[in-house]
Amino acid sequence: MSSYQLNYLEQLETESIHIFREVAAQFERPALLFSGGKDSITLVHLARKAFSPGAIPFPLVHIDTGHNFPEALQFRDWLAKEVRAELVVRKVEDTILERKLTEPKGKFPSRNWLQTYTLLDTIEEFKFDCCIGGARRDEEKARAKERIFSVRDEFGQWDPKLQRPELWSIYNGRIHKGENVRVFPISNWTELDIWNYIRNEKIDLPSIYFAHERDVIEHEGQLVALSQHVQPAEDDVILKKSVRYRTVGDMTCTAAVESNAATLDEVINEIISTRISERGETRIDDKVTEAAMEDRKKNGYF
């Protein structure tokens, strides 16, 4: 402190808090999209710091696919109470019934794609003009291209060829009626930054981020936990393994990592030494096409 210099984590925190305050000032009805994972938990922590001693001036919105880890849902409810934030939950299940959507089939039925419908309906229902998300640019190569204030048209679509210039720390959130801005306050954080910050700030996480025992099957080299949503096929070998999760998504499309890391320090050491990216190690659904993420974003996805 005495040298009047911020280390890089403090610099990142500073940038994020500035962004949160711009959101609160520029938009009438913002919402924080809360997934239950470490990135959105970090977002909530940053939002709290940005507005303390006031409350977080927008609701946490969870688009519930129905395929979540029960531990993540419990944690979500606990956190919303803890920070005294309003929690809005909208279920993909309901959208499927209402809109007569076709459920994906297969062994790992991912509702990832269908979430977009529920998200856009929720935006419409509450007239949200801004949705804050926890995406990071280091996650994926389409995300590496997206602005911090990312304007979406009335269909929620991202047009990567028409992004507004975004200079210095000046954020232009002006939109026409019906349009919507997605804001990503932790764009410039890496996975490791998030973990280090969680350690420094002593942020609580759902237990599934730490090693625990689970029944899993192996699928193309990845470990997938058995649950009511993932049933073993006849020829699957059920293994009991000590695992942790590196990301928390749907049970049907998030792979576990074999690990004994029970503490934050141990997890961080493993993350430092791994040679596989977060997405590569944990997502079962992302390899379909090279532009999977870009395509989803163009369609209104987070």
Partner: protein, 413 residues
């Protein structure tokens, strides 16, 4: 550990994306699955090599056309430093995306194709580096493999570029001959260019002193929002939340609120939810004043003994970033940090010619990618510093009220 933000620039196909790919690859900052994906998407190459540019060219259209369209950000760490890289497009059509990346950079790497020398885009990007006062410039003379690693070629380009640098008053310019494709002088010093006495690029990037961009002398703070929880316990709480743009603020400091010109004293300071005795740039803070004053978003609080400029008619450099040319009679919104005011262009003084780097008359209006000096008039006074003196309080953007697009970068003079 400190942080260096840098950007690659230069003309189309000069090898910016390849250079970044090479830097990440040779410094072992590419993970196995990313490498596999890369190999898969370049498997149709006959010589079996991978196209390192595909590491940052993440959009479908970019891969199809083999060009960069928008800035990609990559992050990597060596034992010495943490880096945030912006890979800019070289194509003139996407210059505004390059400016977006350049506005955050402490260092710019300008690539030059050794076969071509300095071309128009080299000059255009150099102008931007000069306008934005990026503290360090590295001129990477690339594709040395295609000119037999010739020292003469390197020297000629060095002489040619030095003239540009001099005219644009670029500071701290260094030159490195490289082959991004083959990895010469990127992470390891190349055996093929024994005549080059400097260090390879990565070593240079690790060593260059990051001049702290932060000005700690001229205290500037702009209110982003007023925090008034209005709960039972915090009934009378009223704090001004914002970022310390520059300088240091302490409890008890005599301050002036601008443009209102009202004096007060700092009664309490908070950052990160804690009460503190002092805050410094660029920390986020909440300032409390001893007096009840009407203050809202966009107002500035400065120390009373060090005042910024206050004007509603001022000289600025504009970099036009919209397809639609500047419409002289129109009103534009000017956003200066969090302050939004209406403005209009009163007079265009001159235009900067990219080729001669000379001032010329602004006849024919102001079009995409042009840099002009203008007099701008605002509906209410701006509280600012000149960009050369204090970047963080000297820059703004213009917004077209009807399209909502950000149409110009504004640098106060």
């Amino acid at each position: 550990m400190d942080l260096l933000r840098f950007i690659t620039a230069g003309s189309v196909d000069d090898g910016k994306s390849t250079l970044i790919g090479r830097l990440l690859y040779d410094s072992k900052n590419i993970l196995i699955d990313q490498l596999e994906a890369l190999e898969k998407s370049t498997k149709n190459r006959t010589d079996g090599s991978v196209d390192l540019a595909l590491l940052t060219d993440g959009l479908r259209a970019e891969r199809e056309q083999g060009i960069t369209i928008d800035v990609a950000y990559r992050y990597f760490t060596t034992p010495k430093r943490k880096f945030i890289i912006a890979d800019a497009p070289g194509h003139v059509q996407y210059t505004r995306n390059m400016i977006t990346g350049a506005s955050h950079a402490n260092l710019i790497i300008i690539l030059i194709d050794a076969r071509q020398g300095v071309v128009e885009q080299t000059r255009r990007h150099s102008i931007i580096a000069s306008l934005l006062r990026i503290p360090h410039v590295v001129v990477a003379i690339n594709k040395m493999d295609l000119v037999d690693y010739s020292q003469d070629v390197y020297n000629n380009i060095l002489i040619e570029y030095s003239k540009v640098a001099k005219q644009l008053e670029l500071k701290n310019v260094s030159y490195i001959p490289i082959s991004a494709l083959n990895g010469d002088n990127i992470v390891e010093k190349s055996d093929l260019m024994g005549w080059y006495e400097g260090e390879p690029l990565l070593e240079f990037l690790e060593k260059v002193s990051v001049r702290s961009d932060v000005n700690l002398t001229d205290s500037r703070f702009q209110v982003q929002l007023v925090i008034r929880p209005q709960t039972e316990q915090l009934h009378d709480y009223r704090g001004y939340a914002g970022k310390i743009i520059s300088g240091i603020y302490r409890k008890g400091d005599k301050v002036t609120v601008l443009p209102q010109q009202i004096n007060s004293t700092i009664s309490k300071l908070e950052t990160g939810g804690l009460e503190v005795d002092e805050v410094f740039a660029p920390q986020p803070a909440i300032i409390h004043l001893a007096d009840d004053i009407d203050i809202s978003r966009g107002d500035t609080i400065v120390k009373s003994d060090n005042l910024p400029l206050i004007n509603n008619e001022l000289e600025v450099l504009l970099c036009w970033m919209d397809e639609k040319p500047l419409q002289p009679g129109n009103k534009y919104l000017l956003q200066h940090n969090s302050r939004l005011v209406k403005s209009s262009i009163k007079k265009i003084e001159y235009k900067l010619d990219v080729n001669s780097l000379q001032k010329q008359s602004a006849e024919g209006g102001v079009k995409l990618n042009e840099v002009v000096k203008v007099i701008i008039k605002t509906a209410s006074p701006l509280v600012y510093d000149s960009y050369p003196k204090l970047n963080a309080n000297g820059s703004a953007v213009l917004i077209d009220e009807t399209s909502n697009n950000t149409v110009a970068a504004v640098l106060f003079q």
